[in-house]
Symmetry: C2
């Protein structure tokens, strides 16, 4: 596998600003059939990237949804043409705050425009046209990936046959906004953030690590933390110190330290902001006069960050328009992380759902 990139001149953003040139990093798997009817777009979450499956030179781990994408898997690369791109605003090859601003030749930093989930999808639409995909057989993703999937249904329902939003919501709740805001405040409180102009000086590592630690708590469930860590200690009994004495403390510190090596702090600000702005409640999921794609909506019982009621709200909205929707609440203890863990159940659901979805 290797990561490709597409560059196009400009993108008109929801804010009214223009961004350009715009580069999208992407990967493809499998082959597009002659009618272009077998293409599936996979959409990543907050810190994901185009590398959804397999091994890529220079990266130690397989892609973020590797057990779901490949020969014979849920997204079967023998049958389907799979596409995954890094979102704009990100830091994994697509244009984001760390990219050079053509006006100055220096990184955009905080002068990068605030982008939305709809802007991410609009950039993906450019990629879709470039790849000669007339219609996606399915668009699918978890968490922020699910928001993009929903946005595809809202923006281009005539070019999407089916939508698979997983562990996601029609709109960020105040609690979800609050967790994002605290992460942003942790980053912006770090003097190394330098008002966003830290490129060349090193990242605001401490603030970004704190943001990531908060994130990790919200991705797990109370029960999965109990199962993984309980009150086990790294030390031989209490040391009466502020060191990482409990295993869970060591885990969080490690996750934070690891994260700052691979993710840009400003991207964290921009991508979380896009999620907070996201709101397809009311009638906004539906484009007037357009067909409604088929939906498979999946949530996880122990996910308290994107609770099942938010998925049921998606289902309710679709049923109010007589949409074709299947909803499954998977009985998992893994919390929000479940969409990156519960492969058997997701594979079973998605395989049969896509098999029943037909190109136009």
């Amino acid at each position: 596998m290797e990561t490709h990139s597409l560059t196009f001149d400009r993108l008109l953003l929801a804010s009214g600003q223009e961004l350009g040139p715009v580069t999208l990093a992407y990967q493809t798997y499998g082959r597009l059939d002659e009618k272009g009817g077998n293409a599936i777009l996979l959409l990543h979450a907050l810190t994901g990237d185009a590398h959804v499956a397999g091994l890529v030179a220079g990266e130690p781990k397989p892609g973020w949804w590797d057990p779901m994408v490949g020969s014979g898997k849920a997204f079967d690369t023998d049958k389907y043409f799979i596409v995954c791109s890094n979102v704009i605003g990100g830091c994994r090859g697509s244009t984001g705050p760390g990219s050079a601003d053509p006006k100055t030749g220096k990184p955009y930093g905080i002068h990068f425009p605030v982008i939305t989930i709809a802007d991410m999808v609009e950039a993906q639409r450019h990629l879709m046209d470039y790849l000669n995909v007339p219609t996606w057989l399915a668009v699918a993703g978890g968490s922020m990936g699910g928001m993009q999937a929903l946005q595809w249904a809202a923006s281009y329902p005539e070019r999407v046959r089916s939508v698979i939003p997983i562990a996601t919501t029609l709109k960020h709740s105040p609690q979800q906004i609050a967790f994002d805001e605290v992460g942003r405040q942790a980053i912006m409180a770090d003097p190394d953030w330098r008002g966003g102009e830290y490129y060349g000086h090193g990242q605001p590592e401490r603030g970004l690590a704190v943001a990531r630690m908060i994130g990790h708590i919200t991705y797990m469930s109370d029960q999965s933390m109990e199962e993984k860590f309980s009150r086990r200690m790294k030390t031989d009994g209490f040391k009466f110190s502020f060191d990482a004495e409990f295993e869970v403390e060591g885990y969080l510190r490690n996750r934070g330290a690891h994260f700052v090596r691979r993710f840009d702090a400003n991207s964290y600000l921009y991508v979380t902001r896009a999620m907070d702005y996201f709101d397809l409640s009311g009638d906004k999921l539906f484009k007037p006069g357009a067909p409604i794609p088929r939906f498979l909506v999946v949530s996880f019982k122990s996910d308290w960050l994107y609770p099942s009621y938010q998925s049921r709200d998606i289902v309710t909205a679709l049923r109010s328009r007589h949409g074709d929707v299947t909803y499954v609440e998977v009985n998992s203890t893994y919390g929000h992380d479940a969409f990156l863990v519960e492969y058997d159940e997701q594979t079973r659901l998605i395989k049969s759902f896509i098999a029943k979805t037909h190109a136009p």
Copy 2:
């Protein structure tokens, strides 16, 4: 009302270290009867203090449990002698990391010994003796106050007639430790923390504010945040900025900014550490051969920080020893904050429970 203080020479801590001299700030309400049988100890949570009710000179607000303490209230000052003291390790008049270390004459800072909930209770036992209270008719508190109440039952069951642990736990779970740890990391990541030696330089305000913001999210419920904020904006539509555009963002920032004016960052480290160490699971709630006080255990349905299952674990432990225990899960939407909000139900429960509790 005014705040008194008691100073005693030394306290042998759970760590094996000695702390001394030790000052406890405390307030009392009502009068101790002749037999000393009407005394009730109220125990505060993480950021509380001795000022539990009424108005105190120099403080704009009534005490933290004012609607619960006073003439005719749940803790009826016409009938009972009410005592409340600031915990050691705190910053509201009792000895803590901001106090002068007698060895150096300078604030302890990070050289303050790590203390435990049992150490807090041991200091309160000194106050009890000083006040000539032979036996508490009740010890009561929410959250960390509930831990202290449980610790009283474990350390001095023969001197406690009844225990009212509210919205609390026998032991901090890994999720609870994790939230505390992220708060501590936010503080310690702030360069203004200066390795804990910031006295005279100003607080690590940014880190402490982030810690407080995290706390506030965990004190509310998803539903109470929805009711209080929904997605309402402070601005007239999206500004495509990182300002506090959503009301919930403004609220969190205000709470953070307010908090750093009244609470010491090092105290935040020490007091959260005491909570993380707390563990009275297994048989540790019971002192061999001692009587078990009566218990009223209260939890709140929407409290996800100290979920009801943790209160049920207290009840199960007590019932396994044939303890006299009443358990009520109050049907509140306020999350963990409910113990500071749901006064009617708590008043009804506590009044009748104490009325049935008798001095020896």
